[in-house]
Symmetry: C2
Subunit: 259 residues, 2 copies
């Protein structure tokens, strides 16, 4: 197995650039950090360019599972692993996955549950919402214009591999909402406001779009005006609001029916 | 107004120690970072020892609200604010709040909703669950033995001031479960297992205890055997599990009825 010891190695320098948005755009790839994500990618038969392991990881039982994968594997030093990872104690396994360069147009026919993210900023919240949408049986998640980058390391960590299970799109939410309406799929916004409707008044549905807004400012006004209904979660205590990922979880599990 | 410019000032050195568990124990105090938390503490008439503001913060509208508060306020340099905060761009307002030294015994009469944390580790998850319990109208949260520290900065940030609205206890969960059972309050564990019962089979109740377990390993076996029912959230997609704070949110809002 090929070994790389130095963080100055030109390949390592390239891969470290995947931690930045510019690097990911230039190389059309992103980094998977940890066994859980690499395993999920292998299971989903994702196009992995390379796998990196530390010497220590080679003694772990999981390494046996890697041997059957037809992907080039390189050993890297612990110092390199530390640089590649966001985790202070990296597991010692990484993979580089391709970012699909397809245009990701809105599908001609849409059905199922769809989560739309309008200017959501916190990468942990975004990744957790993708994971929850997957768990709730949603068909896909659309990242609106001002939402943080899909493949940044903290988003990838929080997604826990759900990017291999459901469809992720980037797009203009105005266009998506228009398409949902053309297909008679109800579009629910969310709003911390007395003008909104309690989610408990809505019946579970097989097809729906749910929009979550920015952590501090909520959804943009233009989108609030395009929805069929804007929902809120009644606060029963004294908290001012819920964390956006928790609110999305409550709403997705309540509103979506899998037939 | 008194001013402190140097991070070497002995008071500042003391306050910086509040970022550690040992420092908080020795001083029986913790740090509130940001206007939202300080405002919530003032509203709740919490015993604040001191307020710290930067020169910049003094030009903000919020500073006017502070003037009427009968609490000693000191100006600190931007460099000090940066050291005190976990936030890369601190707002420039802090307060030191007392940690109650009461023994926090189990109340003689218990009612309402209670969230019990069994070995939950991630401070963001813990704080978010406290905030959600507050929003769901729960009466209190009990931090079990192996759960991360109540007043560490990341927990405090995620609680968003809910520590001023609901009761927080530390304790042995075995003792708490025993007390709930004595008072005929149902105790629900959570378990990612086919032996568990779907939460949708349970009716909403005014009084209940809900236990959430460790992010990786779930609840401890001893506690799983003490509960009335162990619940799970059916996963409708391919995700292996939900984030613990999202799961807690879905369960608290579904199971708890506020009369």
């Amino acid at each position: 197995m090929e070994k790389i010891e130095s963080v100055q190695n030109p390949n390592i320098k390239q891969w470290l650039k995947l931690k930045t948005k510019k690097g990911r755009q230039q190389q059309q790839a992103y980094l998977l950090d940890g066994w859980h994500l690499v395993k999920e990618a292998l299971r989903a038969q994702i196009d992995l360019q390379i796998i990196l392991v530390t010497a220590e990881f080679k003694y772990q039982a999981e390494f046996e599972e890697l041997k059957s994968a037809p992907i080039k594997t390189i050993e890297v030093s612990a110092a390199i692993a530390k640089r590649l990872s966001e985790n202070p104690a990296p597991q010692g396994i990484f993979a580089i996955a391709a970012i699909s360069s397809e245009p990701l147009n809105i599908p001609a026919q849409i059905s199922g549950g769809w989560l739309l993210l309008d200017s959501v900023q916190d990468p942990g919240n975004i990744g957790t919402m993708v994971r929850t949408a997957d768990a709730a049986g949603f068909a896909g998640v659309v990242f609106g214009e001002k939402t943080a980058d899909l493949f940044q390391p903290k988003v990838v960590r929080a997604m826990q591999g759900s990017q291999f299970h459901i469809k992720l799109f980037k797009g203009r939410l105005v266009d998506w909402i228009t398409r949902f309406k053309q297909q008679q799929i109800p579009v629910f916004g969310t709003q911390v406001s007395p003008q909104a409707v309690s989610y408990r008044q809505i019946k579970a549905q097989a097809n729906l779009a749910l929009i979550m807004g920015n952590e501090g400012n909520g959804m943009t006004d233009q989108l609030l005006e395009m929805t069929d209904r804007n929902l809120y979660i009644p606060i029963l205590g004294q908290a001012e609001s819920l964390n956006v990922a928790v609110a999305a979880g409550i709403l997705m599990f309540y509103l979506h029916r899998v037939d």
